[in-house]
């Protein structure tokens, strides 16, 4: 410990208070980051992680408390950047219309003068090779020609890159949310290397394994305060979850023996002419597993468009969709929370084609309580919620409809464990009532909750696992089995 104290303080935030209206986002939080350490920051959605990140990177001025970079008290985005603080945000924050090199130009003001394009390209390419050896990203493409995982990789590379000076502190907010296991491991290895060379990293992740294996020190936040700040070796998954205020619930593996009655509610022939066919029966919970970006989302979209014509909406929605990328195709950013929730069920809330306000509000109040949307008023704008809470609203939107089938495109991205458990229970009871869930998830815990799992590889279904066969080992084996021969 004494050794840690002697190190240079890169950023020191002490007693930070930030309030948004009546909501206390930060209530006297302390966070000191030294050179050469990786700090894991964990906590619930709405615990104040994103807020303290925004304070450190200069985007938000604290209402109280002191903030200093390498000992000097200055504020603002440019001051933070001048002190080598870089940030990779939870929602992807590149300019989708620009090329990879042009995005590097925006992030690095030093890249000016003659031939900045060439220098930007070599900068990003070198950094990408350093972090993700063997990647296949063409840096001349514009960002929206890249997949979501590739965008995340580019953003990480741009943030770690340095021209005149290397960044001192890189804040990674859920960096692996769109990366598959292999890429995430490469990133974690790079973080260790970066820290060994004297840099600091603030790592925020919901994947506790990552936090435990990569960080030196773990800071746990709860309700705007730091509730624990200890060396990573003193934590286990269990103690970490307990520190966050969650009681670890023993997972129930009481899968209902799936009763297949009659015709499947959904079916799809083998994709791309090989692999297995897809079938789903009433009341089943089906997982789509495999490495990220191997055709799961496309399969969900095809299932959806198969039932709902592109041109003419069906009168009775029998199928609902929970989007994974909420800013792209989930939320209506200008609308209230309630309007965002009720949009899919307006048909059943209307009398004579007019929306019945009272019924809409009852529906909203019911779901607010059921999945604990943390807001004083459902009339607030959806963007006033934290990311996880926004995702909950999207979830409630689909569950509030009368649809008998719900398609979910990795909907739990960025949702805290407590909420996840609650949602899992709701899913279970809904499935018991005869709803069918088709669930693409990148998290093994969620896949294990399903009755049946299709593992995707290279755009087609490579394996089907039923009941007790669903284990991490089997899923991984099916995701990789043919190696690169496929």
């Amino acid at each position: 410990m004494t050794e840690t104290l002697k190190r240079e303080e890169v950023v020191a935030a002490r007693g930070i208070k930030v309030t948004f209206g009546a909501v206390k986002a930060l209530d006297g939080a302390d966070l000191v980051i030294h050179a050469g350490e990786c700090i894991g920051l964990v906590g619930h959605n709405g615990a104040g992680k994103s807020t303290i990140v925004n304070v450190i990177n200069g985007g938000l001025s604290p209402h109280d408390g002191s903030l200093s970079y390498s000992g000097s008290e200055i504020h603002g985005i440019s001051a933070a950047r001048a002190n080598g603080v870089r940030c990779v945000f939870q929602e992807l924050s590149l300019c989708p219309n620009l090329t990879v090199g042009e995005n590097a130009r925006i992030m690095h003001a030093e890249l000016k003068g003659w031939n900045w394009r060439g220098r930007a390209l070599s900068l990003v390419e070198t950094q990408l090779r350093d972090i993700f050896p063997g990647h296949s990203i063409d840096c001349d493409l514009s960002i929206d020609d890249l997949s979501i995982a590739e965008r995340q990789m580019v953003e990480i590379a741009i943030s770690f890159a340095g021209i005149d000076q290397r960044p001192k502190l890189v804040i990674l907010d859920e960096p692996t949310s769109s990366l598959d296991a292999g890429l995430a491991a490469q990133l974690m290895a790079y973080i260790r290397k970066f820290v060994r060379e004297g840099g600091s990293v603030l790592l925020i992740s919901h994947i506790l394994g990552e936090i435990l294996s990569t960080s030196d020190r773990i800071v746990v936040m709860k309700d705007g305060r730091v509730v624990a700040d200890r060396a990573a070796s003193e934590f286990t998954t269990r103690s970490l979850v307990e520190a966050m205020g969650n009681v670890v619930r023993e997972q129930e593996f009481s899968r209902a023996a799936s009763v297949r009655t009659g015709e499947p509610v959904l079916s799809m022939p083998p994709r791309r002419g090989h692999g297995l066919a897809f079938q789903a029966w009433r009341g089943e919970m089906i997982g789509l597993a495999g490495l990220g970006g191997h055709g799961q989302t496309e399969a969900l979209l095809d299932l959806y468009l198969d039932r709902n014509s592109n041109w003419w909406p069906t009168r009775r929605g029998e199928i609902a969709f929970v989007a994974g990328d909420r800013s792209l195709n989930g939320t209506f950013p200008l609308w209230s929370i309630l309007k965002n929730l009720s949009i899919a069920s307006l048909g059943q809330l209307s009398t004579k084609r007019m929306v019945d306000r009272a019924r809409e509000e009852t529906l909203g109040a019911g779901w607010k309580q059921r999945i604990e949307i943390r807001t004083p008023d459902m009339g607030n704008r959806i963007l006033s919620l934290s990311g996880g809470n926004q995702q909950k609203v999207l979830f409630a939107r689909a569950l509030a409809t009368t649809a008998s089938t719900v398609l979910m495109d990795d909907p739990m991205r960025g949702v805290d464990i407590g909420t996840k458990q609650e949602v899992y229970e709701i899913l279970r009871s809904e499935a018991a009532n005869g709803r069918t869930f088709i669930w693409y998830s990148t998290e093994m815990d969620e896949i294990r909750l399903c009755d049946r799992v299709y593992v995707f590889r290279d755009g087609a279904i490579a394996a089907e696992l039923v009941g007790e066969e669903i284990t991490e080992k089997n899923v991984l084996a099916a995701s990789f089995s043919e190696g690169d021969a496929a």
Binding site: N57, G59, I77, S78, R81, C87, F89, S93, L94, C95, P96, N97, L98, E102, N103, R105, I106, M107, A109, K112, W116, R117, D138, D140, L141, S142, D144, D145, E298
Partner: protein, 313 residues
């Protein structure tokens, strides 16, 4: 070779221009000459400049509904003050550029819809134009007239000007650092802000640059017509928007193409001549021009869809 999506977006506008040109040459072979080409395209120069101005505004996700009246105002200033007392004229035009920058700042700070602000401004510019020139008149400055009627060897001035405009704006918008920042604001202004840039400054500069190109459009127009009128360029508002879209630009997301915008402006001008050559009565011309627009845009949508399908495979 893999084509970038920007190049793919340019194919349809370029192909439609070539097709229209071929059709015009087929119907009227005499147009295939130095004078013919100049006559076909010389009205395209001010439209191309106005389209570039509109494209700059659209690259930061805004829309300028005062383009037509502003170009008219500039034309009136050019035909009066700039001709009689150049110092005062230049001062007025610099003031107009400053006004554009202020509009950009106001739109950004107050988070106002640009459509509303510029619609309001269109009445201001229109009113000022009428105050300057209550009835059609004025005289073009000699140099403006000289530039627009110059006879360079081999290639008519309209073509030279179009290529020059496309090259210069391509450099500014697509290659320079400022262009990257400008399109970055259109693509994701929060990310530009977080990187430590002043989005207000970028927006103000973009608007000022748009004002500058709109002024050039006004001067070029007067150079061609020799006199001005307060309503001379009213249809430029919609023509410029159509030109940007026709050239592969998009309303939001910072996806613009200066070369495409110039091609779009040329196509729009040519469509008018094409319809006259077809002996379509003027009553039907506007409708037929609209039909051409719809066909080109439909082609582009089809291409976008094809591109998307390719990507998903």
């Amino acid at each position: 070779m893999k084509l970038s999506s920007g190049t793919v977006r340019l194919i349809i506008p370029a192909a439609s221009l070539v097709l229209l040109l071929a059709a015009v040459f087929y119907m009227q072979p005499r147009a295939m000459s130095y004078t013919g080409l100049n006559l076909l395209f010389n009205l395209a120069v001010p439209i191309a400049l106005a389209t570039i101005a509109q494209m700059l505004i659209m690259s930061v996700n805004d829309l300028d509904l005062s383009m037509g009246t502003f170009v008219s105002f500039c034309a009136c200033v050019t035909a009066t003050f700039l001709q009689t007392s150049p110092g005062l004229g230049i001062l007025i035009l610099l003031g107009a550029i400053a006004a554009y920058a202020v509009i950009g700042v106001v739109i950004h700070i107050r988070d106002l819809p640009s459509i509303v602000v510029t619609l309001g401004m269109s009445f201001v510019w229109g009113g000022l134009a009428v105050l300057i020139l209550p009835s059609p008149g004025g005289t073009a400055p000699g140099w403006a007239r000289w530039v627009m009627t110059a006879k360079p060897p081999l290639v008519p001035v309209a073509i030279v000007a179009s290529i020059l405009i496309a090259a210069v704006t391509h450099y500014i918008v697509m290659r320079s650092s400022f262009g990257v920042l400008m399109r970055g604001v259109g693509g994701n202004d929060r990310s530009v802000e977080r990187a430590g840039w002043s989005v207000i400054g970028i927006r103000a500069a973009t608007y000022a640059l748009a004002g500058f190109f709109a002024i050039l459009a006004g001067i070029a127009l007067v150079g061609l017509t020799t006199s001005a009128d307060a309503n001379i360029a009213l249809r430029y508002t919609l023509l410029s928007i159509a030109g940007v879209i026709l050239g592969g630009g998009q309303f939001v997301g910072g996806k613009v193409s200066p070369i495409g915008a110039v091609i779009g402006a040329l196509t729009l001008t040519l469509a008018g001549s094409f319809l006259s050559f077809m002996r379509i009565s003027p009553d039907w011309q506007i409708g037929a021009q609209g039909a051409i627009l719809i066909v080109v845009l439909a082609l582009r949508l089809a291409l976008n869809r094809l591109e998307k399908r390719e990507k998903s495979q």
